[in-house]
Symmetry: C2
């Protein structure tokens, strides 16, 4: 049962679909019209600027026709059709009581109890089939994913990146080598575990994806460890709201320089929220944090307590999952969410990984477009 | 006259330098120690995590010695030296009354009265000398810069990018061609002016720099036009605080898709502020804005009024500067701040530009490291 009314002098359209009621403003409807004068029918880009729509736009008529709404706009005298599905998808007439630090429903946080490591064989990924889509979806959901049974050849990491985007080249190159020869006569090497961290917080924008690809791994130890930063932040907020506020309201500072041509600095909070409180990113990297001076004097002591507590949560074994990368295996992480670390080595042997950076928007784009392509295929088959 | 006291049981150090008084917390001082157990002396990276510093760290002694402060930390019994210069540079004991929308002092906003277009000859840029530094500083300050007398050869744009970073490759390639043949028999071409906009708002992270390099330009018209988005936002805030709040408190949505493998979406405000209210970015692009549904129903009408007003300010000729690119000339813009547009063409002729994206952190890094290198050189000469 659908019913439509035009209210407040034509500035609002009210649509009742069964039990659901949605209101839309005339200017919003007009600006989002999908007709071929307003939108390019091929690429969907808008062809007009807002100034080309009269500011006194109002709706003179609204009627229901076959699961869609037909709206007549004045003074343009333009009739536009809106599918109910599209209207429901873009409905903004609902109260969203979002708590600061809310997490997008695209994500699912995890700890050491995560039942499985999202994995896909290299061959299957390359085929861009339903398994690729499943894996891309898991990476979006959990913030990381493993790749198995890939070729053990230098540069194979680029083949993986090509699947969902482009390399973000930096001062470390198109890729970087992570190469260690464990020498048992130098015990310093064996204990070199690194605290879980995000990479390159001194960069702005930070690389939002990292790939690590294993080519050699004969040393004992050296497992990879991951921690869901969004889970850690959520725990911090639940334990101590003030700590959460301190780390999200004030910027930390990060810095990296070499002796030659690189000097990178950023000023961003450890916990980054969007304008409406969505948890966007964590930056956590003790090595490259520089002197914080955006926190007011009377909050600095508590800011440090908050930072210390977040570090303790991150170090809690309940938070971590570990797995070993064997030659031909790789993993990617969302570098704005998932922290990574390396356990220490022991014994003798070699470890050689190649790594590179990329960006999440490419991965999301690959997901959306593969989803659409596979849906089209299966509808052709049906 | 300098004087130092230790207060509140060793948790705070108070330093008086002439008329200035600065307080520092023991934990902050200890965490930012520059000794070789805390910091790598080559790359400046911190070698310890916060958990390796006792949480009950306190200062048992503080004394002044030759323009520096000598602090003894307990329970570690560690003595660390801090230069007064460094302490002043990182002082956090001052009240900052920052207004939402404040602009970093690295930037200077401008309108049509901007007295000059920051420019540098290609040859001088390549030499990485004091003129390069001046130009990089201007780009940081004004958000754009022109390059003149460059080679008229395909791919010359990459030589420019190499000066201060790396190409951000996207679905549009490592670079893209902007090529138009003006055909006076098709008047549609002549009027194709574009409203000033930022590029790729549907990407996350957006490319923070854009370079446009001219190889051919025999058509009349087609001037490049730039608008300082930070100036436009400041004007909006001064005119109507509520409009400013609406565009910064709620996210817009942006989208771009082709028929194959690209589908990019983002959800970000038109005016992006940092946690402490610094103006970080403007996203303004009518073509790729999709249906906004993060704005509550009772604010949507005003949100549209705010968006319309911002567009009017951007279109105000008082805001724009225009210049023409001739073959061998180029410009870069900070794509998070400066909007760009193209005026319409007339007559006959051709116009061919090559463009690419890059990131600001590379440009800043080039600036800081060149500044240091030149300072070192001049001190050697002296």
């Amino acid at each position: 049962m659908s019913r439509v009314t035009v209210e407040t002098g034509g500035t609002v359209v009210k649509l009742c679909l069964g039990k659901e009621t949605m209101r839309f403003h005339s200017i919003w409807l007009r600006d989002n019209a999908q007709d071929d004068e307003t939108r390019d029918q091929i690429n969907g880009q808008r062809l007009i600027a807002l100034k080309q729509i009269p500011s006194d736009t109002w709706v003179s008529d609204a009627r229901v026709e076959a699961d869609s709404l037909l709206i007549t706009f004045k003074p343009e005298n333009k009739v536009i059709r809106y599918d109910f599905d599209w209207l429901m998808e873009n409905n903004y007439d609902e109260v969203k009581n979002l708590k600061r630090g809310w997490i997008s429903q695209d994500h699912e946080t995890w700890g050491s109890d995560l039942a499985f490591v999202p994995s896909c064989d290299y061959d299957k990924l390359i085929k861009r089939n339903i398994l690729t889509l499943k894996w891309l979806g898991d990476v979006r959901k959990y913030g990381f994913g493993k790749i198995t049974n890939g070729p053990i050849t230098e540069g194979a990491l680029f083949k993986v990146i090509e699947l969902f985007g482009y390399v973000r080249e930096t001062n470390y190159g198109k890729h970087f080598e992570v190469r260690t020869e464990v020498d048992p006569s130098n015990l310093a090497f064996t204990g070199l575990a690194l605290q879980a961290h995000t990479d390159n917080p001194y960069r702005d924008p930070v690389p939002t994806l990292q790939l690590l690809y294993c080519l050699e791994s004969s040393a004992a130890g050296g497992e990879n460890m991951l921690v869901d930063g969004f889970k850690a932040i959520t725990r911090l907020r639940e334990e101590n709201e003030e700590y959460f506020d301190l780390l999200s309201n004030y910027s930390a500072r990060f810095e990296y320089k070499n002796n030659k041509d690189v000097h990178l600095k950023s000023r961003r909070p450890i916990i980054e929220l969007s304008a409406n409180g969505e948890l966007l990113a964590i930056r956590f990297n003790n090595r490259s944090m520089s002197a914080v001076n955006d926190v007011p004097f009377d909050k600095m002591e508590n800011w440090y307590s908050a930072y210390r507590r977040l570090g303790e949560i991150i170090d809690d074994p309940d938070m971590e999952i570990t797995f070993r990368l064997n030659p031909g295996e790789a993993f990617i992480v969302d570098n704005t969410r998932v922290l990574h670390a390396r356990k220490g080595y022991s014994g003798t042997g070699k470890r050689w990984l190649q790594g590179c950076y990329s960006d999440k928007d490419g991965l999301n784009s690959a997901f959306y477009s593969l989803e659409k392509a596979l849906a089209k295929e299966s509808s052709h088959e049906a």
